[in-house]
Amino acid sequence: MNLDSLTHTSGEWLRGTGPESDIVISSRIRLARNLAAFPFTNRASTGQKAEIEALLRERIAKLELEPKLSYLSIPALSSLDRQLLVERQLISRELAAADGPRGVALTPQETISLMVNEEDHLRLQVMRSGYSLEEAWHEIDRVDDLLEQRVTYAFSEEFGYLTACPTNVGTGMRASVMLHLPALEYTKQIEKVFRALQKINLAVRGLYGEGSRASGHFYQISNQVTLGKSETGILNEIQSVIPQIITYERQARMSWLRDNRQGLQDKIARAYGTLCSATMMTSEETMDLLSAVRLGINLHLIEAITIPTVNELFIYTQPAHLQKLKGASLDGEERNAARASYLRQRLREAGAHPN
């Protein structure tokens, strides 16, 4: 697999399609699995990690999946390529930064990614554009079944799938939905939503997972409990609150439009104007401005640009993507200039051919 090809597409999660895609960016499920006969990754020697990787790599290659997965060895990748995979959410920051033999198997559409030697020997991930947790679950369940026919998972009837960290034991499942909630944030109702979610044991994280800031008003909502509840039980819990949050966000958008249409329109026009003409642009500012533009498109306040284009800009203006596009490594200042010039160019093109 040539990683350069990734810079011509925006990947599954930013495709901007699927149910409720004005608010739900993507749905994602991951399963943590370990091989029964080896110590967990943190206690495995380099030799054992190499053995685990060789074994899983061989079994993954034999999976009856169409299209086939490509395997990438992480130590063989440049740090820029690793960062690229992190930005596309195909690998975790932990896998990018870890030591020793490790890798990831991917489908060309980036819907499936199987990380080898992360915190657990195997982390399966399935991603879907829009609100499609059910579909993601059926897909990952199938991949898990296929793998399970070829490897012996560490499993106990009492504790379920055994994981390095007890917070993942049981189903080993983390289901998450990424939402774009600008109106709830601007109207300061977001805290209320989070408090309600925490009460029912759902976690709220930023764009790039644990510890990351919610830039661009993107939030990931996921389950925390993995033991004592079935996979469908966990999915039902998340699915019982997502429609409500979607409704709140839509209501907040509508009342904002009703109460202060001009203010909102101005905010969006200014964001668009800045993106079209600034000459230095940080990643943070870009995210915030694109978020406003994305809201404007959904509210039909701006016509010059489409959702898939905005989604593409979200990912292409990330540091590693930008450097890939420019074909050169750039320091912070250079990146800000390159980012602004890239945005100007793309928006000029989009404005010349609005869809």
Binding site: F38, T152, L162
Partner: protein, 160 residues
């Protein structure tokens, strides 16, 4: 003979006299023996405090130093890192983990997907763990022919 605290060969054999009828035999490698002899004597002081009614401290020290026979993880390592060392730890530290799991998840019993090959899986898990242990011992003994034989058996099992 293997060291009781790590996977190296035991070179020092220590007989400790703990009380009137109590003796404890220890078989350790040089590094662990060094630690054992120069560390504050938890066992010995433990007995003293136990008789003066501080039973909990002894249990605590005992627990923290308890080690998984498969991966060598001590409970204190888990305390420090929050990560377990191998699947067997869930059995080894079952009593300590159960309340912790209840705390995290509100439950301590799995209810969800089960591997389809479960009966097969259970048998194989314990056999594989045993074989891995034997393999390590064989390598440590430099018994490479035996190690190769064990490795082939592991491959065979893994192939299912």
């Amino acid at each position: 003979m293997k060291c009781q605290k790590c996977h190296n060969a035991a070179t020092l054999h220590i007989t400790e006299i703990l009380g009137e009828d109590q003796i404890e035999e220890l078989h350790l490698c040089e590094a662990c023996a060094h630690n054992h002899l120069y560390e504050p004597q938890q066992k010995a002081t433990g007995i003293k405090t136990a008789s003066s009614g501080h039973g909990e401290e002894v249990d605590e020290a005992g627990l923290l130093n308890r080690q998984c026979e498969v991966c060598g993880l001590k409970f204190v390592d888990f305390r420090n890192t929050g990560r377990l060392g191998c699947p067997h730890d869930y059995q080894e530290f079952r009593d300590e983990l159960t309340p912790l799991l209840e705390n995290i998840h509100g439950e301590a019993r799995h209810c969800g997907k089960t591997p389809r090959r479960l009966p097969h899986n259970k048998q194989m898990q314990s056999e594989l763990i045993q074989l891995r242990k034997q393999l390590l011992q064989a390598v440590n003994k430099e018994a490479y022919e035996e190690a190769a034989r064990i490795r082939d058996r592991i491959r065979q099992l893994e192939e299912g």
